[in-house]
Amino acid sequence: MKSYDVAIVGGGHNGLVCAAYLARAGKRVVVLERRERVGGAAMSEEVFPGFRFSVFSYVVSLLRPEIIRELELPRHGLHILPLESTLTPLVEGGKKGDYLAQWNDHDQNRRELARHSPRDAEAYDEFGLELHQMARLIKPILAMAPPDPVSLHPRELLDLASLARMFRKIEKKKFNALWRLLTMSSAEYLDAWFESEALKATKSASGIIGTMLGPRSPGTAYVLLHHYMGELDGVFRAWGFAKGGNGSVSAAIAASARSSGAEIRTSAPVQSILVQDGRAKGAVLESGEEIYADIVVSGADPRRTFLGLVGEKHLPGDFAEAIRRFRFRGSSAKVNLALGELPDFTCLPGRGPHLRGAISISPSVAYLERAYDDAKYGEISRRPYMDIVIPSMLDPAMAPPGKHVMSIFVQYAPYRVNGGWTDARREALGDAVVDTLAAHAPNIKSAILHRQVVTPADIERVVGLSEGNIFQGELSLQQMFFLRPAPAWARYRTPIDGLWQCGSGTHPGGGVMGASGRNAAASILGKRA
């Protein structure tokens, strides 16, 4: 029996980040990962011989730059390749249709937007500026442990006052703009900026990612901003692809943690968290092995942590109630394709630079809204929203020479699909995706060598994310900041002494960001996050 300062349950990216920071601070840390590899949803796997995939999460942007810096991730093998464009094919059907492309180069981008609407091309810069300002406003909040606004504890009051001071320093105009982003739907927010349907649709699509909301649902404008907060090399809204797939993000963090002395145990599934007299003492593995630690940190989502690993009997009633009503409702799926040749888009044929960026199947806001309507009532979207990247275009090592891997993020595939997820339904989802894509790139069907379909149920089963929610809990305003995952317990602490949380189910949550893990480590170390 070995004893540690800290035992971390779950080797997802946040668990690893937390472990790395604690180990750097001199703690004896062990990470207990259920699967045979670390990374949680940020992992790469050779699913088919010669074809490597970022099976679940597939792009990097939200990963906090301070984490890359402080944990020296590039030294530990992280190399991020920028994704430079987004192509939105516009017309369905075999005919040659139009497209909207967004390019990294300002002039090229502007010219393309002006082709659709000169006014939008003009508004685009102002829009970008506003979101940039908002992202700057939010940035310090991302690295903050949210105070409890209700508490009368002097420390909480102090933190609350400094938060209020920070907000009061913000110009009124900017504060109001932020409020609008927090409360509006992405479609309505964009309506006030743009007139071109394709642009509105493609932009609003980043507001629905990971949510069970449509582009016309209030709250989605914030998710849009959340996806704008990505920062690469000091530029907001820059997206990248990790060389070797998103598994290399986790691998780099794990290597950094190990180099600071953390122990990482894979194939070590935790069955329960040991609680005695209201205090966390360690973890019990499924093998029966008991691991003792002064502090236990859970990287699992709140439902799994509290209702599963801890058990309701150890929890105060109102806290258990809050965790029970914390909403997950996974809505996203992944389809991973091994391709014998590149897709050829009717709207922009050939092997152009557009294949090095993202391809967004989001021809109109109504298209996205209809996809949501299906899901609202428990059906897979007949015509889903898809965000496609071809990692082998940027990193040829992902596939055999001349062949390619394609990663398709799909929405909506509701976790609570009518009749439940079955093999047949999984394949039906795969077919809907391929059919939708074939309408834009007819050669896709013959190009497919292998297909992997990952449903929210698969995400839950394999990665352990409740209901397959990629953010460990919906990113809606009522589940954010003070309230993530439960009121009064948003500072990574829990009602059980010695038990902490560090997953995306805590503030700020969502995406391969790592901020939760870093903030949790800071809180555990008694530093101001």
């Binding site: 504060f175 409360t183 209030p218 309230l483």
Partner: protein, 452 residues
Amino acid sequence: MSFHAIVIGTGVDALVAAHMLARHGRQVLVVEERSPAIRDFGWVPSKVVADLGLALELDAPDPWAVALLPDGGKLELWRDLRRTADSIRRYSDRDAQKWPDFCRRMAALARLFERLYLEAPTDPLNLRFALGARGLGREGMVDLMRLLPMPVAELLDDWFECDSLKGALAAMGILNIQQGPRSGGTAFRFLHHHVGSPAGVFRPPRSDIGGRLRQLPRSGLSFRTAQARKIRIDGGKVEGLVLDHGEEIVAPIVVSGADPRRTLLELADPGWLDPELARGVGNIRARGVAARLSFEGPAKGNLVFAPSLDYLERAYDEVKYGRISRDPYLEAHSSPRGIEVHFQYVPQGSGEHLGALVATARRLLPGLENAKLVSILGPADLERDEGWPQGQPYHAELALDQALWMRPLPELSQYETPIEGLWLCGPAMHPGGGVAGAAGYNCAQAILKERN
């Protein structure tokens, strides 16, 4: 004859503002653009009643709502909590038990808003607001923070399991807005429509406030029936009002009960505004989503057809694509005009299809089979008859980004405009439609404060 102020409009808010100004010694001309409704919908704050000495006759139907079920049954919701719980118990014992606690917690939040609604809005960083919210205690504050951005469907799902109860309550979250019960911010709207009502009553009252305001003593007030054509402005200051027949009336103050877009972009010369603000005014969302049907005869209580959350959501789905709901949310009550039916959702521009609404209403609401149709007014008709922009009775949709200190735009939220002497007092202003007279009252207070 010279006036201190000219008030445009005949809505309740405009009349309240006019009377308040007259009470404080101002010579006020009211330009009546249409004949006002005698009975109106919405809580009348007691401060308005007291300050103007109104003797209101309030409708207090009991049950306050009769929720019709698709199988022909009904769920009666009474003013008495226990009696309502008994009704609910027939469908769900669990919900019946929760009812009193739900009502208590919603009423606690509503009381906070009651206070906030009778003053010019402040943002949440304002200390008074923060202290008010903290005054709710831990439970109330957590409720407030969670509830404000929530979809009403999630709020009700947290509490209840009975579909018809949830449907009848959720209707107040979506009333007069192009959103469904699963849209964020609708829980706030549910609360908004609860403000001023006793615990357990989730329908704003109706009163004869329009009629009573007209009966008030008129000292200091003049009335003129005319349409406003142009607000005269010189050097950024109001000089008076030009009426449709060309007559010019001089006054240093114009208080407009018309919606902000018409007031600032049509009646006033928008050249006086920051173009960014003018753009903002043009972007204020004000979509009408309902039609009003009138039939002969009295209604049998306040009938609600909103059998479930999914039903309402599906009704909403259609309007997103510009179609009339085949299975709409309906609510019927007795009015001086007969049975008045609120039919939601009806998108704008569905004029020629309005006839189809009658059969739908007759199919879903009992008692209309043989009632004679008096009128159908769609959004375009309501715009013409009532002056509601695009048929939106609140003049600006009451959504979180257009509520409180953001109503209708942060730059206009204090009832003042950048044009000196031009004020806004209509339902587009805080607290907005559904509360009768508060915007006019707050606006008059702001004018009196400024000018004293």
